[in-house]
């Protein structure tokens, strides 16, 4: 458009959405820019000493940089491979085979919503710890192997714990591929003379590769950003990755320059991964096997093999869901954790840990803050995301594409890095150690999810629906509140709930922004665990578990919500 036409267009109902989106954009960009800028400065906070590259020199000449890089890549790659592989296999079993007991897996997408990530780490540390670990104890007691076989504080332990946590995403990415597969693709292979196994290997699985790659890259990114596993399992075993190094620089050395420099390296890794994710998604669009018609996918009779797949399903259910649950619950009702007490738990059962935890003001404060803040943040984030998506897709202001970039940008910034930025911004102001800083951190960290969700939903809703309101007399606020918002409601409900669940159990944004008197949710559990109060940590975890189960059940049954991610 010419600038004259442009200026005329801007006056028509674009100004308010544009203004609101700009505010949201500034809020998002501030911690990001602060991290970038601080990485070029040195000294303690408040004593800025010019612009230079000292931190980077220290980072790149750190003799640990290469081990750290390879640790990060091995940890992320290993857990992504494990999680996506198992998830894909389960998806295929559920979608295409006559394996009995598939229902055990079908519930799986709910599971990651229930269990706060930190609880998974705690459960697996209890199971796999070299000295006190339950499994090593069992090997000693029943098989006489006194040398510890399992060790949670190794690379294998880290990959195991996070890999299991990656399974649901792999499953969710690959299930639609197997479910909505156009049967004629396989049928034409049969006609050409290919037997079922041959067809599976040469047609079905190759067509699932793009979705597999997408899920793998996304899991890789999640592992790269993950906080709990590197800090709880990596650090004790002296396996350093970037996230734990950033945390140590901030929490132990309080060296913001160094922390931000490590952050920038981490961000660069994330950006490279995101780039591959975008490429992989494009690749899978070219491979689209879904034609939009509702197919009834054929379930293949795999004969006696179904017992093997059944065993696989049961094994996953035990390892991925049942055992960690049981361990946590048992540990929460015994007075203190060691192998002996654990194995004879019926004799020591009691609710003492719960009483202790509920008497701690830090736990109660944390619980109250996280419930309160999650509700508020979920609503604010989703509303801001919808306004931003509206600005991009439904107003005529030019240059709104920049919001597409800003809204997605925090994805490249691990939540810990964002909170490093917020610490730097707020320190010395009254907002430091306040719920405001925490709320801002959660807002920025979860904005991209709400934004992608709102943007995707809005693109799917035909623009004509808005235009029809427009020509028939609706101004922008009428269009927004009477047409756009009501139609978006189902999609928005999902995002609201997802952000609530994620925020209530958040550790990595909050960990740097909490202080005595300002506790936040599971960060308290993190602290319990670090000082060795394992039983209290388990009891607190079970309380969060109950809250999440109630929330998910209400959403599922009262609001008939469907969960996809």
């Amino acid at each position: 458009m010419t600038w004259k036409a442009n200026r005329l267009a801007l006056r028509q109902g674009s100004l308010f959405p544009l203004f609101a989106s700009t505010i949201a954009g500034v809020v998002i960009m501030t911690p990001i820019l602060v991290v970038m800028w601080r990485s070029f400065t040195s000294g303690k906070l408040g004593f800025t000493v010019g612009l230079h590259f000292d931190n980077y020199l220290r980072v790149f000449f750190d003799k640990d940089i290469w081990p750290m890089l390879s640790n990060s890549v091995i940890y992320a790659g290993g857990s992504a491979l494990l999680g996506t592989g198992v998830g894909g296999l389960l998806a295929w079993i559920v979608a295409r085979t006559n394996t009995p007991g598939k229902a055990l897996v079908e519930l799986m997408p709910l599971y990651p919503l229930l269990m706060p990530p930190i609880m998974k780490n705690i459960a697996w540390i209890l199971l796999l710890a070299p000295k006190s670990g339950i499994l090593n104890g069992m090997l000693d007691q029943f098989l006489g192997i006194s040398h510890p076989v399992f060790n949670a504080f190794t690379m294998w332990g880290m990959i195991w714990t996070f890999g299991i946590a990656c399974v649901p995403l792999g499953y969710l990415f690959l299930l639609p591929v197997f479910l909505s597969f156009d049967p004629s693709l396989e049928e034409s292979a049969y006609i050409a003379g290919s037997r079922p196994v041959h067809t599976m290997l040469h047609i079905t699985f190759p067509l699932a590769i793009p979705a597999f790659i997408s899920a793998f890259v996304l899991n890789f990114l999640r592992a790269l950003r993950s906080f709990e596993t590197p800090v709880l399992q990596g650090t004790p075993g002296n396996i350093k990755v970037f996230v734990s190094r950033v945390y140590d620089s901030m929490a132990l050395e309080f060296n913001t320059g160094l922390a931000t420099s490590y952050s920038v390296v981490l961000v660069i890794l994330s950006v490279i991964t995101l780039y591959f994710y975008v490429r992989a998604t494009r690749f899978s669009e070219r491979y689209a096997t879904i034609t939009g018609k509702g197919y009834r996918v054929r379930v293949i009779d795999i004969g006696p093999w179904k017992y093997l797949t059944f065993a696989a399903v049961c094994l996953y259910f035990l390892v991925g869901i049942a055992i960690p649950f049981v361990v946590l619950i048992v540990v929460s009702i015994i007075p203190y954790f060691d192998y002996e007490t654990f194995m004879t738990f019926p004799a020591h059962m009691g609710l003492n840990n719960y009483r202790t935890v509920l008497r701690h003001s830090s736990f109660i404060n944390g619980l109250r803050n996280s419930v309160l803040l999650s509700v508020v943040i979920a609503m604010v984030t989703v509303l801001a995301a919808i306004v931003m998506a509206f600005t991009i897709h439904r107003t005529r202001a030019v240059g709104t594409k920049i919001f597409e970039f800003i809204g997605t940008l925090p994805l490249a910034f691990p939540p810990l890095v964002l909170s490093v930025g917020l610490v730097i911004i707020f320190i010395g102001t009254p907002l430091y150690n306040s719920l405001w800083a925490l709320g801002l951190g959660l807002f920025v960290a979860y904005f991209p999810y709400a934004f992608r969700n709102a943007s995707g939903a809005m693109v799917n809703i035909h623009k004509e629906l808005d235009e029809a309101a427009w020509v028939h007399g609706a101004k922008w606020r009428h269009v927004f509140f009477k047409v756009t918002l009501p139609i978006l409601k189902p999609a928005v409900g999902g995002a609201l709930f997802y952000i609530f669940i994620e925020a209530i159990r958040n550790v990595d944004v909050a960990v740097l922004l909490t202080a005595p008197g300002l506790e936040y949710g599971p960060v308290t559990l993190f602290e319990y665990f670090r000082v060795g109060q394992w039983a209290e940590a388990a009891a607190g975890g079970v309380i969060y578990l109950i809250i999440l189960i109630v929330a998910v059940s209400v959403a599922k049954f009262a609001f008939k919500m469907k969960f996809s991610l």
């Binding site: 010419t2 036409a5 629906l465 029809a468 427009w470 007399g473 139609i487």
Partner: protein
């Protein structure tokens, strides 16, 4: 009073000219924008509604300036007081039929009883009385179409805009609806702009038709004029039902001329001179399929424009039959009605004579041909 006046409207998409200096005026009735996809007809319609902002030019509805890029005027779509029927109907899925139709009245704060009366009257008019509490998804495609129409006329605007409103219906329903649509619009007594790529639909529905291509208006005429006197070879070929060949005017005497056609082995035809009065030079010759006669025997000696050809095929299509006749290097289609079969051809390859009436031919001087 012109209900619509468009002057010099230009719209660019990057380097592509979606609309290229389009100007016309329209009094009242139903006007169609006809052309192939990408010709600019929908962009023109949306510019009139204010949904697209042109890069230059001005648009007035009922003598009131709505868009004037040069004059810095741009009335937003919600203040233009028009109706619009979208291609996919664009019914709001979360509102009942009643609420969909009442939307524009509600926004303008009409009293509740007035809204109710007008919406129900409107739904009765389109034949959907009693279905006001349904949701759009509970209606068939044809019914959704009617709701969209009701929604666009409930405010009783002076002008409604329809963007290929029938293209999502199946062929049979489409033929019924276009007649009904025309009756309805005439009954309500408003003017309408109608976008379509289907020439038959445009002819049935409209008083005037604008044929567009490449963002430009090629011809603006009544339907019968378009058919009998296309002013551009593209118009002739787009409207169809005719054979198009190149010719050369060799002689002209008193309103009639002789045109030589290389593709017919240099045979000559006699017909009226082109409308611009050209008496020589190259031209396009449009021969209407329906106004020809075909025979095994020679026509009488005083018959003019008789050509000899070979039968290629006979394609029966219901009430009509297309006879394909090879004349020179060109295949000419002759369409006959079932009740007056012109010939009985034994098979393909037979020799036939074709008589072309003078009125079946119209000439388009090459200068006009882009």
């Amino acid at each position: 009073m012109a209900i619509l006046k468009v002057e010099g409207v230009t719209k660019l998409y990057k380097d592509l000219k979606a609309l290229d200096n389009v100007s016309f005026e329209f009094d009242k009735g139903i006007l169609s924008f006809l052309g192939p996809s990408g010709c600019g007809k929908t962009t023109l319609l949306r510019s009139i509604a204010g949904l697209e902002i042109p890069d230059a030019g001005s648009i007035s509805i009922a003598d009131k300036v709505q868009t004037s890029i040069e004059g810095g005027v741009l009335i937003p779509p919600y203040s233009r007081e028009i109706g619009f029927v979208f291609q996919n109907y664009a019914l709001w899925p979360h509102m009942t039929v009643f609420k969909n139709v009442a939307f524009s009245l509600n926004l303008r704060k009409f009293p509740t009883d007035v809204i109710k009366r007008r919406v129900l009257a409107c739904l009765d008019l389109v034949g959907l009385g009693g279905r006001e509490e349904r949701y759009p998804s509970q209606l068939s495609g044809g019914q959704q179409q009617r709701v969209a129409l009701a929604r666009s006329i409930v405010l009783e605007p002076q002008l409604i805009l329809l963007d290929e409103p029938l293209s999502n219906l199946d062929a049979k329903l489409r033929e019924e609806m276009r007649v009904e649509l025309k009756k309805l619009i005439k009954k309500v007594g408003i003017s309408a702009l109608y976008v379509t790529h289907d020439q038959e639909e445009a002819f049935v529905i409209s008083d005037k038709v604008i044929v567009m291509n490449g963002g430009q208006i090629l011809q603006y005429d009544a339907p019968d004029e378009l058919y009998s006197h296309p002013s551009d070879p593209f118009v002739a070929s787009f409207i169809g039902h005719s054979t198009l060949v190149d010719g050369n005017i060799v002689k002209a005497v008193g309103g009639e001329c002789v045109v030589q056609i290389p593709q017919f082995d240099d045979a000559t035809l006699i017909c009226a001179v082109p409308r611009n009065g050209a008496t020589s030079g190259p031209c396009s010759v449009v021969i209407k399929n329906g106004d020809l006669r075909l025979s095994h025997e020679k026509f009488s000696a005083d018959a003019i424009n008789v050509l000899e050809g070979t039968m290629v095929s006979r394609d029966y299509r219901g009430g009509l039959t297309d006879h394909r006749v090879q004349i020179g290097t060109k295949e000419v289609v002759v369409t006959s009605h079932r009740l007056c079969p012109m010939i009985n051809v034994d098979g393909e390859g037979g020799k036939v004579f074709l008589c072309i009436d003078k009125s079946a031919i119209s000439l388009i001087p090459q200068a006009n041909a882009a």
